[in-house]
């Protein structure tokens, strides 16, 4: 209680002393982050193909974007691969983390080994992963020709470690008593996992999934080597002989979609915490009245 009050005071005093400086600093940093995105958005409405001088406002590149079948197919591939890879790797990563965390005490050596093995794909240069995956897929080319499936498998493979990195530490820190209490109170093992463990892990699972999605969405090297006839947005952009401004329009659309998704998620989260707070208050009040009644 005391600590929070102190922090509050510190915060307010800083605000009072250097408000303008603080705002300018934050403004500059934000501008630095968003200036490229703003410029790409502005130039996506340029009627000419230049990225240096703005001629006049038009939607011509958006029109071109939706007419460009090759690019739309590439977009479809990117989004569907990212989505499926995220779902699959999140499931594998989360279940793996729970199991590993449960084994940590009894099989220390084994879990350490697995965790280190999990870190290697993360720190391994992408090009090495890409070439080795290509060699592997070439060896089994007769059964599994290179294409959508191999690209998807590769994406699941390199996304899963990111989920484990996010979720495993959280499982370790989880209060084991909670699960045991749930089971004591009659929950089955399954129910204990679904109703107690997973909700506790939700933020970690969510950030793991987010990481996996981003990694998959903008991957170039691995997709390039194992994609065969399949092409995603990164491959399309990298192989442009000269810059095509439809990429401006595409980037703006992607940014808008991702931005809106985040706003949506934030709104949902705010609502939920409000609901939970209400719930907690209600319970607390109830408890208090009960206590009073007992006394």
């Amino acid at each position: 209680m005391v600590r929070t009050r102190k922090r509050k005071e510190l915060h307010s005093s800083r605000n009072w002393k250097g408000g303008a400086l603080y705002n300018i600093y934050v403004g500059v940093i934000l501008l630095f982050f968003y200036a490229p995105i703003i410029s790409i958005m502005v130039f996506s409405f340029n009627s000419g193909s230049s990225v240096t001088n703005f001629e006049s406002f038009s939607f011509v590149w958006y029109e071109e974007l939706f007419k460009n079948d090759t690019l739309m197919a590439a977009l479809g591939t990117t989004v569907s691969i990212a989505f499926i890879a995220t779902v699959v790797s999140t499931i594998i990563g989360t279940l793996g983390s729970i199991t590993l965390a449960n084994m940590t005490k009894t099989h220390r050596l084994f879990t350490n080994f697995i965790l280190n093995a999990n870190n290697i794909p993360v720190v391994n240069p992408d090009i090495v992963t890409a070439v080795s995956l290509m060699v592997l897929f070439m060896a089994v080319n007769a059964v599994l020709p290179m294409g959508y499936t191999t690209m998807l498998l590769a994406h699941i493979a390199f996304c899963t470690p990111y989920v484990v990195i996010q979720v495993y530490p959280k499982v370790l820190r989880l209060d084991q008593n909670l699960v045991e209490a749930a089971m004591d109170l009659g929950a089955s093992r399954k129910q204990a996992i679904y109703k107690v463990m997973l909700p506790e892990l939700r933020p970690a699972i969510f950030s793991g999934a987010l990481m996996a999605f981003t990694m998959s969405f903008d991957d170039f090297i691995i997709s390039y080597f194992v994609g065969g006839q399949e092409m995603n947005i990164s491959i399309y952009v990298y192989s442009m002989r000269r810059f095509n401004p439809v990429v401006n329009a595409l980037s703006s659309v992607i940014f808008l979609v991702i931005g809106l998704t985040f706003v949506l998620i934030e709104v949902i989260r705010l609502r939920q915490t409000n609901l939970e707070d209400d719930d907690n208050n209600f319970r607390r009040n109830k408890k208090n009245t009960k206590k009073e009644g007992l006394l």
């Binding site: 079948d69 479809g76 989004v79 006839q229 192989s239 000269r242």
Partner: protein, 377 residues
């Protein structure tokens, strides 16, 4: 409550994915092309006309294209001349059956391109000839030359000093000359070999040493005002960032057209061969080939044939901005009032017998890259 939201989210994202998944369906023809190297309306029209589905994939250099050909199969590819030779030597291409074309025949090609390809097909010294037309139908072509800003470098100077203009430190007005070279061992060394009066197809060691010293003089003369760039030249030349660049004629067309004033100061010039030498410059051509593993040869022939018809080739050359190999189109767009009248000097490729194609020669490629990294860059 929560699961409902999840389901909603899944439907939302699934909705975005679905069009992608369906378009991944079976393609009747897989076309492997350079990025931004075809007018997409042409493909749509062909698809509508034949009732087929053409899938296009793109690459950025011949080398990545060759790598990808190893790992996967494509039906129609558009490599450059020397890469076609490599593919042909490795047996990755079909020999074309001319009787299967309704429209295309080698008579329709621009005469100077045809004769350059005939030269390529004849044996020269120790080099065996390569008949590219047996494997490929030309798609675009051009030559390496100089693109320069005529407001600072006079046309007379370029004509008298030729490639040497790249080594002159000062402009006529006393300012430092800004020089840019295409960042590729092959192109720069070939230019240096021609500039020092040698041939670049099969150079000897002493000839290579000459070229190296030619380039070293260039480096010392120009010093910090020398840049090595690739695609950036396209936009940086019209922005007057450089006074003179080694450039492909196809890229030069784009730079000249990008200028605000169509008869602006940017010009393109191919220096004459050094006296006594029979090498002027490098000629190149990207051409359509049918692969050995082609799934639908009939359709591949139809597609290539379609691309060579007058109307389609005209729309395509105007979209890409590279010189067309089809003679009737070539004459129409460079004639008075034609689309490329403004930049004729770059669009018109007046190939002569002293212009040579690169050859598939891994030994030479390695030597040049070694020299380039150790001596020049």
């Amino acid at each position: 409550m929560k699961s409902k939201k999840l389901v909603l989210l899944a439907i939302l994202i699934g909705g975005i994915c679905l069009p992608g998944l369906t378009s991944c369906g079976s393609a009747d023809l897989v076309f492997f092309n350079w990025g931004e190297y075809i007018d997409l309306d042409i493909i749509s029209e062909f698809e509508a006309q034949e009732g087929v589905n053409v899938k296009m994939l793109t690459f950025d250099t011949n080398e990545t294209m060759l790598d990808k050909m190893e790992a996967s199969t494509y039906d129609v590819v558009v490599p450059s001349d020397y890469a076609i030779e490599e593919l042909a030597v490795n047996g990755d291409l079909q020999t074309l059956d001319m009787s299967k074309f309704e429209n295309y025949s080698t008579d329709k090609l621009v005469p100077s391109l045809k004769s350059a390809l005939d030269n390529l097909a004849t044996d020269k010294g120790t080099k065996e000839g390569f008949s590219m037309l047996d494997y490929a139908v030309p798609y675009t072509w051009g030559e390496v030359g100089l693109i320069y800003d005529s407001s600072v470098i006079s046309t007379e100077e370029i004509e008298t000093s030729g490639w040497g203009a790249l080594r002159t430190a000062k402009n006529a007005d006393g300012s430092d000359r800004q020089v840019c070279l295409y960042d590729s061992a092959k192109d720069v060394y070939s230019m240096a070999l021609s500039a020092s009066g040698h041939d670049f197809v099969d150079p000897t060691e002493t000839e290579l040493a000459d070229a190296t010293s030619w380039l070293k003089t260039l480096k010392t003369n120009i010093g910090d005002n020398l840049s090595f760039k690739t695609e950036e030249i396209l936009d940086e030349m019209p922005a007057h960032k450089y006074d003179i660049c080694l450039d492909y004629s196809g890229d030069a067309i784009y730079s000249i057209m990008e200028e605000q004033d169509p008869i602006g100061p940017i010009k393109f010039y191919i220096p004459e061969a050094v006296e006594g030498s029979d090498t002027r410059t490098n000629i190149y051509s990207d051409a359509l080939c049918i692969t050995k593993d082609c799934q639908n040869t009939e359709l591949a022939y139809k597609f290539i044939d379609y691309l060579t018809t007058h109307e389609v080739a005209k729309a395509n050359t105007e979209w890409i901005g590279y010189t067309t190999p089809i003679n009737s189109v070539y004459e129409e767009v460079t004639a008075e009032g034609g689309y490329f009248e403004c930049c004729k000097e770059a669009y018109e490729v007046n190939a002569i017998d002293k212009d040579h194609f690169y050859r598939y020669d891994n030994g030479l490629r390695k030597t040049l890259e070694d020299l380039w990294l150790k001596q020049i860059r």
